[in-house]
Chain length 102, copies 2
């Protein structure tokens, strides 16, 4: 299995971010080939010391790292990645990695 984690810094207008994210970005990202599961944070993204600087975290599951790499290269993946600057004015940190259950 493999995961793509997208962490969005606090935007200037949280309500506008949320509207755009759920109405426009999620439908685009859901078209990514071989995406198995797509979860997003609800409410505050916390740390043990209190609220984090992140407004939203998305966790996308794939079967393998190769599927994530193919997703990034696909037109649908390019469209979803290209959409990020349209709403993520607080920045976006993307990480991807193979996983194993322990």
């Amino acid at each position: 299995m493999a995961k793509l984690v997208a962490m969005y810094g606090t935007p200037k207008d949280k309500a506008a971010f949320d509207r755009y994210y759920f109405a426009t970005h999620v439908p685009l990202a859901k078209k990514i080939p071989k995406l198995r599961k797509y979860e997003v944070s609800q409410g505050v993204v916390s740390t043990p010391a209190g609220a984090s600087n992140y407004h939203l975290v998305a966790v996308l599951d794939f079967a393998s790292l190769a599927d994530i790499q193919a997703a990034f290269a696909s037109p649908e993946g390019q469209a979803a990645a290209g959409d990020i600057p349209n709403f993520a004015d607080g920045g976006a940190d993307l990480f991807f990695f193979e996983t194993k259950e322990v």
Copy 2:
């Protein structure tokens, strides 16, 4: 559902980190009450621009944010959290949040 994401910065000695993490920390963390699933990254934690500054990412699934809060407060959660300074000399960023599937 809810997730706890632990992101470990690159340690001084990666092999020593990995030995300790899998031999000592994972068994401690697996005792955390109501932990449903525990996945760890394998290999490089990448960003679209190349390798990240993180050596390992762990994603722990729980049924709810309340379960994560109870986990932190439990003796087993305290033991797992208290173990982090024993191996994470590259730092550890912990985030937790409620999730929904989209």
